[in-house]
Amino acid sequence: MADRDLAIRVEHLSKRFRIPLDRSATLKHRMTHWRSASRYRTLEALLDVNFEVRAGEFLGIIGHNGSGKSTLLKILSRIYRPDAGVVAIEGKVSPFLELGVGFNPELTARENIFLSGSILGLNRPELHHLFDEIIGFAGLEQFVDHKLKNFSSGMEVRLAFSLAIQAHAEILLMDEVLAVGDAAFQEKCFDIFNRYKREGRTVVLVTHGLGAVTTYCDRALLLDHGRLVADGDAADVTSQYRRAIGMAADGSRPNAEIERWGARDVVVTGIRMLDERGVEDVNPATGGFVRIELGYRIQNDAIADFTCVLWLMRGDGLMVSEATFPVSQYAQVGESQRGAGGTIRFDIPQLSLLEGTYSVDVEIQGRRDQAPYDHLKNAVHFRAIDRRARRGVIEPGGVWSVVPDEQPPTWPDRFDPRA
């Protein structure tokens, strides 16, 4: 490669998948349908993609589900072969895309470290040397010889993570590593990202968390149906993506104008939606932490008692929920004065909305008469993203179980299907 600074060079990269129309994996089917054996649908997963990544660069790849971002990552890691084009890589690439690759639930933590560590490119002496550090960082000293199947998912993720950060690749490829784990874990991830940045390692990150992209990535690529549609500054590309997904075709008018009315005795000075790190994110993940923050200022000395009401609205106009907060009872305004103000926070520890477009309406109103001081309709638009693509409206947080029971529920006689 002529340019020594270049870590990855991709030219005219194309990849297509052939999806058989009727999936039948038996020899008999092949034999009896040999004439139609070539009937398949071709999916252009990547189409003439060109880009370069400099050594030490932090690159984010974003795009909707099925846009080809994971396929691209798999080609970079040599898991998939490209159909056409050139992929040139300078430096040692991490051979894994996710945490805990090769973990086996039937093996102990110790055995899994040696097995999964080998896949990550570490050899036995190295793993022996790093063993205590890996276990210590994961905080699993007491569970070294416990089988992985007895670990909680949090413990497993911690183990996977502390192992993964030991891989000494110059170019790291990561597919949705942030999607697993709780806020504390994500915090750890970001610490490591910062360390990688300092060390000048090249990182290619595929994620739905646009906040992470704007915070950590120098540059971002936006893919749409296998085409590279944007390549540039991370903030520009993410906002382009936000605009693009805002126009989802589910019958909603997601980008409807803000409508505002009220007496303006108290005004909303601004509103934003944040993720757990306080980074603005209008694509929260189902189950993730969401904070809606709004600023207010009192414009009228006579106002002593006021309430904030927040409505979550679905894209089609259905009210999902209403939440009321008597601000003046909690705010340290005391004798309310003109010009006093503050920030009201509405924290949702685990967003229960499944994938879809939503908006937030807010109103500050008089506590007694409920007179609207400042009403903002469509104050925030957001799209909940459910990584598991479940159907329905909400994630109820239900827990399944089955127990032996001497008195199981029975039908009333008139409903008994046997009657």
Partner: protein, 311 residues
């Protein structure tokens, strides 16, 4: 623009590096597969000994006690036990290695390494069990004074290598096809049944000759059933038959001369019958192994490119 251009052009040093790493990964995978094979069972590893022993007991009862199969060879029970241990290895190795790719879809879709490592690891784990079983059979045989210990034991090593290569070649072929066609597992089951009888696990080549009455007497020029000659010829070309016979020959036939052991051990019995003097048959099993390995490796190489997409 080269279509499907390769990602890296590593130097010699890094190639050696990755070779070392992949060797390490293979061993690591083989160890965990060996551990995993017997998890959840009370007797654990003991099963790998118990299974051939129990099969041996059944087979011995049916074939020897009931059907009176016995070619009059010395140490006949030992011959059968040796055959069963070899057969158990062959069947477990191909059986588990066939699934090695399909059952590791998660790994293949999420990490890069040469795919053959998974098959090699599965076969190594079976080989490890085999070698231990063989050692135990050896100890039993010594204890019962049913073995002739001499320098010729070293012949066992190339025979094991040959057997392993055969099993590996077949495993590569089967595992590559199994990804898209699960039919091969059923087909292979049937073929294994055929191979079991075609490999002389329970009997020697001599016994087949005796039963077919190909010659009534040693040295006779007129075989009684010449039209069945092909059965013996095919069996003599079968590498599993050859390895089992040669192992028996090396370990259990003290009177056999060295030349016979090295070159045409498994044909020794055939050669006793003048009508069946077919020296050109001697290299056939080795050629068969070579072809199986080459064909298996090539098939695997071609199909491995799309494993990640097809799983």
């Amino acid at each position: 623009m080269s279509a499907g251009a390769d990602a890296q052009l590593p130097g010699a040093a890094s190639q050696l590096d990755s070779f070392r790493h992949y060797r390490h990964l293979t061993v690591e995978l083989a160890i965990s597969q060996f551990k995993l094979r017997y998890t959840g069972s009370v007797l654990g590893y003991f099963w790998s000994l118990l299974k051939p022993a129990m099969i041996f007991a059944i087979m011995y009862f049916i074939f020897v006690d009931l059907f009176k199969i016995n070619d009059g060879t010395k140490f006949y029970g030992m011959q059968v036990l040796l055959g069963i241990v070899v057969w158990t290895f062959f069947s477990e190795c191909t059986g588990s290695a066939m699934q090695a790719i399909a059952s590791n879809g998660g790994l293949i879709r999420k990490a890069y390494f040469p795919r053959s490592i998974l098959v090699i690891a599965a076969s190594l784990s079976a080989l490890f069990t085999f070698v231990i079983n063989l050692l135990i059979v050896f100890v039993i045989a010594v204890g019962l004074h049913q073995i002739d210990i001499s320098l010729r034991i070293i012949i066992v090593l190339p025979l094991l290598l040959e057997l392993y290569l055969l099993a590996l070649g077949i495993s590569l072929f089967l595992s590559a096809l199994f990804v898209q066609f699960h039919d091969v597992s059923h087909l292979w089951e049937v073929l294994m049944q055929l191979l079991f009888y075609g490999s002389g696990v329970m009997f020697s080549l001599t016994y087949v000759l005796q039963r077919l009455h190909l010659a009534l007497e040693v040295g006779s020029k007129t075989p009684q059933t010449p039209h069945l000659l092909w059965i013996v010829q095919i069996m003599a070309a079968n590498p599993i038959m050859q390895t089992i016979e040669d192992l028996r020959h090396a370990l259990l036939t003290p009177e056999a001369p060295w030349t016979e052991l090295v070159v045409t051990g498994h044909l020794a019995a055939v050669h006793q019958y003048a009508a069946l003097d077919v020296p050109w048959e001697a290299p056939l099993p080795f050629l068969a192994v070579l072809m199986v390995v080459i064909f298996g490796a090539l098939t695997f190489r071609v199909r491995a490119r799309s494993f990640a997409e097809n799983l």
